[in-house]
Amino acid sequence: MWDFLVDRRGQIAYQAFQHVSLVVQCVLLGTLIALVLAALVYRNPVATSLANGLSAVGLTIPAFALLGILLAPFGFGIAPAVIAVTFYATLPVLRNAVVGLAGVDRSVIESARGIGMSRPATLLRIELPLAWPVILAGIRISTQMVMGIAAIAAYVLGPGLGGFIFTGLARLGGANALESALVGTIAIVVLALVLDLLLLVVGRLTTPRGIRV
């Protein structure tokens, strides 16, 4: 095991970087998409139900199935991995953003409008900051979830630590198969926990003091 770690340290570090980079970028992109969608729908009840339905249904679709479906038009490689991971990263954030925005006290919004803040300014300066803790909780759920999904994405030759797991599977019984699968799995667990901790810190730093619990 130790030998494996030492011999492959370069490759492990590289794949770990790839994995985290894929996850972080997709979560960022997913958050952006989710916020834009939420901002578009949260004032319209029909659109809100649609968005809620979409995130509920989307989350029931198995990751391996979606990856499979994406292979048909996009072929092997980065594209299906990025699309699938972003898709799953978007959904929890979308759900929480809609809930968070809907939960902002109406009297606060009314007084923002009452002192002459425009609609976009009210959204940016009042509603989003107040909904932020809920949105951030969604981002944490997303990140945890897509760390595992990114591992499956390695099967369609996406980047990341999933490669070690599939290598282990392919070489089953052969040299270093167990080591390979163990390294992939444990590295993902550790990185997921590190990212979660980071998000916790980000949450502390970005939540306005007036609404921190």
């Binding site: 479906i69 292979l71 760390m147 499956i152 999933g162 167990l178 799995t185 979660d196």
Partner: protein, 273 residues
């Protein structure tokens, strides 16, 4: 859901004294149930339409011999049944293990282990499913039961956590009231705590079920069978029709199971909650 919001919007349209008060939220209660009820009807309709579309496509598409064999009625039925039995067996085991364990961990004697278990559960949650499948296969060998073990390990967490959270969320005064009127500890658990925690526990069960259907697709990698085989074969042989058929069928199955879970939640939720 939509009914609530339409009603709330109507309240916003008349923003005089009463409408913005707490009356608005009170009005939301009965309509929430009717909104849920509507979603409960729409979801199976979508699933049935999806299945019909698939059947229609299967009947009209021109397929190669391999594809036609893999997508034959008998083969598909076998894969689906296999997928469902993986899910059902794992689900049954999860319920048998996770709910009693969750209950036990909320009893006073064992309560001090709760943070440890929750912490472990959170770490476990971060483990990638595929890694778990492969490692377990290396240890236990390939096949149906290894898959079941992997599925149980992976999907026990939501049920365990929701059971604990649900029971901990029961108002302690109600428990005290139960004890105060002479109910035994077991009676309080069965008549007060579990019924009140039921919505949360059932939500956990539904999450686990959906997770199971999805994760069972990975069974193909360790010879566990199921609909994942279609996807995997499609990928390795570059047969898009197989690939997409498998993916679509699994997605429809997940939606159907999710719907079943919602129906159970709706029906089993104690009246008055």
């Amino acid at each position: 859901m939509s009914a609530t919001q339409i009603r709330r919007d109507a309240a916003e349209e008349v923003p005089d004294e009463a409408a913005l008060g707490p009356g608005a939220s009170r009005a939301g209660r009965p309509s929430r149930r009717s909104g849920e009820w509507r979603a409960l009807v729409i979801q199976p309709v979508l699933v049935v339409l999806g299945v019909l579309a698939f059947v229609l496509w299967r009947a009209t598409a021109t397929l190669s011999e391999t594809e036609a064999r893999q997508l034959g009625a008998a083969a598909l039925w076998d894969s689906t049944l296999r997928h469902l039995s993986l899910t059902a067996v794992a689900a049954a085991i999860v319920l048998l293990i996770a709910i009693p364990l969750g209950v036990a961990l909320t009893r006073p004697a064992l309560r001090r282990f709760t943070p440890v278990v929750i912490g472990l559960a959170n770490v476990g949650q971060a483990a990638p499913a595929i890694g778990l499948f492969v490692l377990l296969a290396m240890w236990l060998g390939f096949g149906f039961w290894t898959t079941v073990v992997a599925l149980v390990v992976y999907s026990a967490l939501p049920v365990l956590r929701n059971t604990m959270v649900g029971i901990q969320g029961v108002d302690p005064r109600l428990v005290e009231a139960g004890r105060g009127m002479g109910m035994s500890g077991l009676a309080v658990l069965l008549r007060v705590e579990l019924p009140l925690a039921a919505p949360v526990i059932l939500a956990g069960v539904r999450t686990a079920l959906v997770l199971l259907v999805g994760t069972a697709t990975l069974a193909t990698f360790i010879a566990g069978g199921g609909l994942g085989v279609l996807i995997n074969t499609g990928i390795t042989l570059s047969l898009d029709s197989l690939l997409i058929s498998g993916a679509v069928l699994v997605a429809l199955l997940a939606l159907a199971v999710d719907w079943l879970g919602r129906v159970v939640e709706y029906v089993a939720r104690p009246k008055g909650l």
